[in-house]
Symmetry: C3
Subunit: 532 residues, 3 copies
């Protein structure tokens, strides 16, 4: 595993770079990451590029034998761009446009933002794409982090186009969404608004089909934005291109499978201080592209568990571990007194943690997961679309359950998990595959899971299992439609799982029906039984 | 007691209607209710009526011997109406206009909405008013449900007219509201705005006289809207016309006495799972029109207490009990898996509950209340107008106390209550009348309560009793003004009730002074003593 | 100590004034306060003054030998002013303009409001400045009370001017604020907006340098408004001019040192029912102008501790104690049933409390503080500017700690405190000076504190001590920069105070390093040790 750290030369006096890069090198880091917020430095005025500073940073790193992970700076559109094109700034769920002064203040569907992003990424790629000192590229920063959805007119128009492309006509949309319920039928696509919050006094949520489509649309908008950057970078560079995805603390409304599809490696940021949480994201990211590899892009300099987390990551296939951040920022929204070094350049305890790990020559043995965990963004969003989403912490019913109950049980049983993507095979080598709260029906997935069971696997489902279609609508055509699974449970036993897990044999394997609220201890007991 | 269920033919394939209606009939239901959200079906474009679907539903029901409760669909103005007249959509307390996509998205004072409502109700009444298969009519659905007040320009203008009609001039308004307090005097009625929320940082509430008038105005707006529909329906039909009022969970800011005055029967919806709560609404609704009858219009298909609730209702004079809903909705905001039958047509346990009750031939004996409970909306709102009302659950101090403390004590002592309307007689046949938190003074009511006491009754009041006038202003002209009641307590003993209930004799009866915060147990003890 | 009470003649019938003033006089009050909300009476239309009512009030008070504290009415701009100039109404943190109907509905930077305030204050001062019946003047009421900051266009323009006057250029501002962090550099001052809340979904706070400057700007705007009134009043009167500052319950974002600088006496309002809280404000206000005197301007008529509070105030140097309010208001936002008398004119228990205290002839002995407590508004705001400030109770980390932990320990050890202003001397006579959470570096203050220590004093600091500069940025130039204090602690020991208080000798005195989260008991133990 290789070690990297984020370092921001622009924040410190040039005279201190050599001291800092020396310390970085001495700790055993192989590369530094920078640039992800530096748009105003790279392009101080519209169309005026100035890469002198970037050149100097790369030169300085190179003098100390450090490679560079260079980031595109698109998470922070500068003031000149926001001033000229206020429609870049996203509109929130109450219909208020945000203002300049934070970060991620961009609508992913704003033409001016897309154009300006294309321009700065192209300029960067042209200049540094072939530079041998660049080890990798990071696109943007924590896409879909704090700012998950926008409700502006650009999004409204794009959402209408999205719907037009997906539904044969407005009649089909009405029919599939149940538009006659509450007289919500539309006559034309251009009558459909973004799902801004209803009136303050109205304790009413969105039509769940509508809500689910808007989450999909929002996720797709971000993926398209990332793909646009990847396409440009891939034209100019041969080194890996990634993006650092955020954890699910504020929600999982970005489809990570799609996000990393056209990138070269998956990577993530995580700041939680519990080992099972960190392990979950490692297992998840390893499976996200199906290549068994991933990077940690940001992990806490001040974590008491930094060493443990490095082990957790390495055992799970991490090939590059980046610590955020090497030196504290004296000002700005993330100001602090300490990082790997303190404000005055003195190494802090985790500096030594890194040095010790980087000096290890024996790689850690890789874990061999025995448990598959199906993570289906669509099912998560289907649950999410039922909730009010009054703030950014709502709608986490699915990811919180899969992480803090199901995965935690896996971890505490001493196991790791292989994440099963809904469009991938469930490997026969896994004795157990868990599919909790997998509420949306997918024919190919159903077929694949049956195949896995018939070949000898054990599949754990619950009473949610595929009871809705992709429109977030309950499937209502009766028992035979559900195929063999429910038939085996005696028809339609999905209304409750009153008796503790019941098992039905299928070919060489079996299906276990769990309660959809099964507790942490319940999962641990079940896993213990199934893996014995 | 007759049984009814809500069934929505438009949500299911025509081929399934016969199966469903058969099941409905077999359970013992005499009628089905439908139509209350079907405006877009009845009038798919402005002025284009299409009742073919309604005809087909009525025909199908009729084929199975089922009568119909037909609803006016005004709770869900269709997209074409909202698009053409965005001023139909209500404005919330923060000044934001809501959007299409939920329900109850209508300002009761919007001219375009009133006109369109008049048109569709007239068309419905013309077509079905004399149809012998229609057993009753329901106006709208849960008027003043989630959407209680609007703050738009139409409401502003209407509120100003309301005030002009009530106050001799702006000077009188200033004087009665205490306008010189905080220099809040107005010069003209047209300077008065709707009581939208002040600035976010301002922890300040509205002038309580102003606040109370806006609640009254909002309630009157809804009553006027309902009366308008009733007037149309009564021109065309002879069967009972009602509306299904919501319980007080989100507030009691609709005067039910006025609401049901021009209707033919009172009915309500209730989804709570505690018996005393359901019993409260039954007792309340029985008294609301003074005719001793009421209907339950919606009660939960999934309730574990459905059978008990049917008994509670019947014992209290309910003549028609409607279960919401027969079959689950696969999509939309109220999607679920089960109702009286499940998504696949299988009867659920409550199907049998209904069947068993409907098959009973002996009516249950009627309860004879011994306790009168004065419920005064004006007093409730006077308390409400003191609170910040930041969300729709605030301002429930009065209804929550009367329901969860006072009435609960009545219920748990094995009694039922007769609701006393402030404009009605307190029957001498009741040994005890409770008037807690009755803060607004009403001369006729005061006189009637004294008469009741002098004739031998026991009246329980508290230190709030009639200490404010109808302007929500403390009456400050001294002891004699309060007449005999306070005089009997030694002048003005209303500042606190430090000693447990004190009793003063009056003619043949007595008045008991209770603490305004008397606990559940306190009320039970008091009732036990008074009813012994 | 002299006694005063607030009495509002305009709220009651003229025929009752004599009774009320007699009761006031009999209780021992020497003066009444009125006028602070009576703008609409004094100027019923723009430019039309009517002081007949005020004349009558003063006459009536004078007939009973009562002096008058006359207030300027600027906290309540009348409807005619708000209607003509809606830009007087402040804009909240979400960008919504408030409306008429509460109080404090004024932007301190609105030209129309400033002009109208100047006019009414001048008219009042001309008429009553030399009137011998006026004992003192109160400017406005609870400046910066519920309404702390405004975000309107006037404020935006004024804030830009404030910044232009303070920073040599936009480049300097960018450099000092760390503008390159998150690409937040500005190109021109006129690009800087007011720090309205970002989008609802964005869990992101303001740049802390920006945030601190906006608090300073907002405080300065209020101080300037108060100074404007003081300057007018001082031209016409020789009696003391004050303003009644609010306690810190909703925040301390008004610099009381600056507020009272150009006034003649400090005074405050406080409604808390705990003795140490009241004592804190007394100690604070005594020190705020450095003259050892202060007035209590409002304290609760219904307080169970009124007598104790009068003692607490008198022992601390209070020379005038005003009880709010003599008679209850029947209507309006502050309606109630009881004050010193009840609604019907009957004396309540605290009427007797006042009478007893006012009749005392022996003044209480004055407390001699042994503890100095540094209260630095700038340091408080620096902490505040780190927080989200989603509502008006946020951002209280500093004042709450200094009041509820540090001062409370002082009080419970039986001590009183002398408030140390950052621009004043730390008296050598105090054995101990506490400087908790004093995070902003001030060279003069640092020098003064060292002088105090070297002369024999004991200074208690914590790990926050002066680690940031006045821009709210961590000072990062190393150990020697911090001068003798940190050097004495072995260089830079400010990252944590792991071992309980450590002491370093300095000249004849010593510095104690406390934990920045030291508990109430910890402070009590420390004080007990240091004061022994």
């Amino acid at each position: 595993m290789q070690y990297v750290t984020a370092y921001y030369p622009e924040y410190f006096d040039k005279s201190e770079w050599d001291r800092d890069f020396s310390l970085i090198r001495e700790a055993g880091f192989a590369a530094v990451r920078f640039g992800e917020f530096a748009w105003s430095q790279m392009e101080p005025e519209e169309g005026v590029f100035d890469f002198a500073a970037i050149d100097a940073w790369i030169d300085a790193a190179d003098r100390h034998g450090l490679k560079v992970i260079l980031c595109t700076p698109t998470a922070c559109p500068p003031i000149w761009l926001c001033e000229k094109h206020p429609d870049i700034l996203p509109v929130d769920i109450r219909g208020r446009r945000t203002r300049f002064g934070a970060r991620q203040h961009r609508c992913y569907n704003s033409p001016a933002y897309l154009e300006a992003s294309r321009r700065i990424v192209t300029a960067l790629a042209e200049r540094y794409g072939a530079d041998p000192r660049i080890a990798a590229w990071q696109i943007d920063n924590e896409l879909c982090g704090e700012q998950k959805k926008c409700y502006c007119d650009h999004c409204r128009a794009a959402f209408q186009e999205y719907l037009k492309g997906k539904y044969a006509g407005i009649g089909e949309l009405n029919r599939r969404w149940g538009g006659h319920f509450w007289s919500e039928d539309y006559q034309r696509f251009d009558q459909i608004e973004t799902p801004r919050l209803f009136a303050m006094d109205l304790c009413i949520w969105e039509n769940p089909s509508f809500g689910l489509e808007y989450i999909r649309f929002s996720s797709d908008s971000i993926v398209r934005f990332c793909d646009m950057q990847a396409e440009i970078l891939h034209r100019y560079t041969k080194v890996p291109v990634t993006t650092n995805t955020d954890d699910f603390y504020f929600g999982d409304t970005l489809d990570l499978y799609k996000l990393f599809k056209n990138l070269d490696v998956a990577s993530f940021d995580c700041y939680h201080e519990q080992e099972y949480i960190f392990a979950f994201y490692c297992d998840f990211l390893r499976g996200v592209r199906g290549d068994g590899k991933f990077w940690v892009m940001e992990n806490g300099d001040g974590s008491k568990l930094l060493g443990d987390m490095m082990d957790i990551a390495e055992e799970r296939g991490c090939t590059q571990y980046s610590v955020f951040k090497f030196r504290p920022f004296p000002w700005g929204q993330e100001q602090s007194r300490t990082s790997l070094i303190d404000l005055y350049g003195r190494p802090m305890p985790n500096y030594e943690t890194v040095r010790r790990h980087a000096a290890r020559t024996e790689p850690l043995p890789q874990l061999a997961p025995r448990v598959g965990l199906l993570y289906d963004f669509d099912s998560s969003w289907a649950h999410n679309a039922k909730s009010l989403m009054l703030d950014c912490r709502d709608g986490l019913w699915y990811p919180n359950y899969l992480l803090h109950t199901v995965y935690r049980a896996v971890y505490e049983q001493g196991e790791s998990a292989e994440v099963i993507r809904p469009d991938c095979a469930a490997p026969d080598s896994l004795p157990v595959v868990l599919a909790p709260r997998c509420i949306l029906h997918d024919e190919a997935l159903e077929r694949e899971l049956l195949r896995y069971v018939e070949n000898g696997g054990t599949l754990v489902i619950d009473t949610d299992f595929m009871v809705k279609n992709k429109d977030n609508v309950f499937r209502d055509t009766g028992g035979e439609f559900y195929g063999k699974v429910y038939a085996a449970f005696g028809g339609l036993p999905f209304l409750s799982a009153e008796d503790a897990p019941r098992t039905v044999g299928f070919g060489k394997g079996k299906v276990v029906m769990a309660d959809r609220e099964l507790s942490l201890d319940g999962w641990k007991a079940l896993l213990s039984e199934l893996l014995d």
